[in-house]
Symmetry: C2
Subunit: 356 residues, 2 copies
Amino acid sequence: MSEIRQDPTTKEWVIIAPERAKRPQHMPKRMLAHELPSWEESCPFCPGNESQTPDEVLRFPPSAQGSAWEVRVVPNRFAALSLSGNLTRREEGHLFRKMDGVGVNEVIIETPSHNTPIALMTREQVEKVLVAYQQRYNTLKENRQLKFITIFKNHGWASGTSLIHPHSQLVATPLATTYYRRKFDVAVDYYDNVGRCLYCDLIAEELRRGERIIAETKEFIVLHPFASRVPYETWIIPKRHCASFGLCPATGLTELSTVLRDTLLCLHRGLDNPAFNYMFDTSTTEDEEDPYYHWHIRIVPRLTTIAGFEMGSGIYINTALPEDTAKVIKKMLNSLKKGAPYPDQHALSDTMATGA
Amino acid sequence: MSEIRQDPTTKEWVIIAPERAKRPQHMPKRMLAHELPSWEESCPFCPGNESQTPDEVLRFPPSAQGSAWEVRVVPNRFAALSLSGNLTRREEGHLFRKMDGVGVNEVIIETPSHNTPIALMTREQVEKVLVAYQQRYNTLKENRQLKFITIFKNHGWASGTSLIHPHSQLVATPLATTYYRRKFDVAVDYYDNVGRCLYCDLIAEELRRGERIIAETKEFIVLHPFASRVPYETWIIPKRHCASFGLCPATGLTELSTVLRDTLLCLHRGLDNPAFNYMFDTSTTEDEEDPYYHWHIRIVPRLTTIAGFEMGSGIYINTALPEDTAKVIKKMLNSLKKGAPYPDQHALSDTMATGA
């Protein structure tokens, strides 16, 4: 049984899970998608190797037999959390607070194809991935022990992934995460002062300015945020107020499949298949209807390494202006829409980072 | 001129410094100290290449001529901040707040020897480095524009360093960092509730329990914190209450030189010269005399990569219990004191991380 512990000096929580030290690392020499095979015998996520993962909790299409699946969701074999255990906080003295590592950690295997990341998928396949995310989200939130559900992707070795086959993960924790709580507090404070949702106002202001907007569709905007922490950091925000990804309507997911795929395709081509993480920032399962928070996706390319200054200060040093990077990506996206050839990828190098 | 920007959703600050994109990267294939030469012709920090850095702001011994120095402090040639500029916050609309990138970024070149990290230095040399840190700290704090001074080290490529020659850095910012402010707020809250310094209480409690303590000297304790974020995270805390590293007495620095060197030597031998960062967590320059905060050093080995879950949640997944890692390092430290041979380095592997 792992533990979740609270640092008495920061109030931040840490999952202590010694079991995870045993999980394997698959580390081929290269990560370029076009150099990978479409099927890899030793990959536990490739068709034919279904027995190497725990039993599925979701399969698309549901009736698919054997290896004829399109998307699978399985428990993480090396999960840091499990549903057995006790949520009662225990205190050792008055400083050290802890609880059992209760929670869920699942893997979304996004495609049978070993070498087709979201950037290169059909729109329909991306939509299936998003529907799988949301179905698992909405199923898990029924368990009232689970207060917060983080959906995220690690793509490329520098992102912290240990397997290259396209997949993402879902972690459900029995407490609101510190990152969310901080953002929530800021949003509540804004709402109390101004009387409106911070993110709704942000969208309106960014649209008015235009200089950091990559794309606007009926339901979403894509932008490089004002205070981007790293070059090419990208946010995708639904235009309509909604605190939770779990409540995004089906039409929204359909539209999002294009928006997400095209955004990642620009990064893939423009930065030569960079390592990146994306995270779905959403409300707690108990705050889904609230007027303060507003779900969104953060995409963070891993072109630089988080170093001592960032760790010591919480302040990131970004080597690119978001207004500049937005211009580059916007141009690529417009070419993409017109079916025109992409600008030379080296056009991006002037605004690229080389380390913090 | 770079900019410092505040993210309206997190209130966190980011330095936007496009100029830094131009700095060079020296990336040899290996990082093991014993495989490096003691002098490297192309290294800007090696003796004889002094002209490749900006003019020194400090040199030990002060009278040393030419290349006969022991420690040098120079402005970072690719500094993200500079002392020209305006501290006035500017607002674009009511959401986007920014100010000029005012501040100082210096490099402490810790030794003329290209291949002698702190772990392998003489105690006397480490003391010179610590004295240089403190002299620069206390000189810079006289500038009332500078509110916070972060001293940190990036060791090894995975730590985010771009040069292998032993060095550390100092960044002075015109505002308290978000990381500090969060810790400060927690400490003030504790003080208001309990009437004592949080860290003084933490030291007493850890000493009483003993299970996470690596070493105790007259002036310092070394421990693996209760909620360690990564395996072998190590804190060095002065036992006497003191908010600021700038006020640490000379006798404290003398003792710290042994404590810091031996702690890093254990990591160096036990984890085969791992990449790591260390950070001096200290008060703002305006809070140096306060009863709430208590300066300390955090050493964070970079055995794992920060991935999507950590970025999305603020929650780290640690694969080792600090009580276990503390036991391993304590044993090594005791062997070191007795001059006995070190336990086989593979003894550490059971508790080592393999990624989050």
